[in-house]
Symmetry: C2
Subunit: 230 residues, 2 copies
């Protein structure tokens, strides 16, 4: 790994506060690698060899059963994934594939586990990361079970609006069919949800969303849960 890359990695929340010697140990066992788009990184039901940390690009977590597939989460940098499986040394519950070309840091699983035992600061960072992942899934599950598909789209817009600094225009960072899958619906339905929202002042042009009237937008979103979106 290059010196410049190491310097950047060292600044990640997962590593920034930890002991230098432990960091070096992690990195000695690590690979930083580009993968092309649509690469299967992880297959369900296998045992973890490496902790994966997404550094560039986008990755989809998905679950399959009997030919059907469902999106669990869509990850953007910087995010460690499959932490739970690595920590417990258990089978992956979901697969992972790149949506775009992606640069991923791979750290040997048993090195993680061993450094984890010795470095409390690192341990805390790992837990924090895992907790974040947990809370993200809870949010998704909550959205799935409460409210209809249009609500889910509206919620996603509201969260994405914050993430993109409330510019009033939002870029959908991937294909609409991916967004649909993430929101647990069909592309057709996402399209129809956007139609519905247009009547409430949200205009869709390709991958750009425009919030025409922020006041009525806020009123629309109010009933939705919007705290703790990280």
């Amino acid at each position: 790994m290059r010196r410049a890359e190491l310097k950047i990695l060292r600044k990640l929340p997962l590593f920034c506060d930890m002991n230098q010697r432990h960091f070096d140990r992690l990195m000695k066992s690590a690979l930083l690698q580009w993968f092309p788009a649509h690469t299967e990184l992880i297959r369900e039901r296998e045992l973890p060899d490496y902790l994966h940390i997404l550094v560039d690009g986008m990755v989809e977590l998905f679950a399959t059963r009997g030919g059907q597939s469902a999106t669990i989460d869509i990850l953007q940098p910087i995010t460690a994934f499959i932490i739970a499986a690595v920590v417990r040394d258990e089978l992956y519950l979901n697969g992972a594939r790149t949506l775009t070309p992606a640069r991923i840091l791979l750290i040997q699983a048993n090195t993680i586990r061993s450094v984890f035992s010795e470095d409390a600061v690192f341990a805390r960072a790992v837990v924090s990361e895992l907790a974040t992942r947990y809370r993200a899934v809870i949010q998704v599950l909550k959205n799935d079970r409460i409210g209809n598909s249009t609500d889910r789209v509206l919620n996603w817009i509201a969260r994405e609006d914050i993430r993109q600094h409330r510019k009033g225009s939002i870029q959908i960072p991937f294909d609409k069919r991916i967004l649909a899958s993430y929101l647990g619906m069909r592309p057709e339905n996402l399209s129809r949800a956007f139609q519905t929202l247009r009547r409430h002042g949200i205009i869709v042009h390709g991958k750009t969303l425009l919030i025409k009237d922020r006041k009525s937008f806020r009123r629309l979103v109010r009933p939705s849960v919007l705290f703790a979106n990280n």
Copy 2:
């Protein structure tokens, strides 16, 4: 807290391997308390004062929004809950209420965080617990998004069958309406799902389920994901 209770608690996976002095510190700040059924233990959007560990009874995690409510998980002993919020010192994403009278160990949140930093063994146990919780939610989400309501019931039966040691008869450990909510459906629909399953050799008598033909049951469940059910 009584000496006998402490002895039992000491044996829990979360505490069994940790340093005695740290254990004592945790317990000095802890309360072991019975709560009546249907007590609200935790309210969404509040900050955690205590880590909760369910020792006896059952607890429901739920989310609400605009009057609607959805079950996130149903906990049985021994399970620590709201770990993610405690670790990150962030708002609860879901509420928790007792389903039955329940005995709960409350440990001060900041004591948890401080012992966590000093005791690597405890840290690992916390992560392990959190990872388990994470994986449980992933399973639920997966079930929600893949397959219909009858599939979800079937899957639940299969998992519960294992948990109850494949005796061939299964006790539903709570009201059917709770099960329905846990599986993200209406009680009416659960009832109809049981009807459907009866045609496949699963007989329902009150809270008792009988698997009449294990061979055909296995065939039925096969297409479902059933690995890693913990």
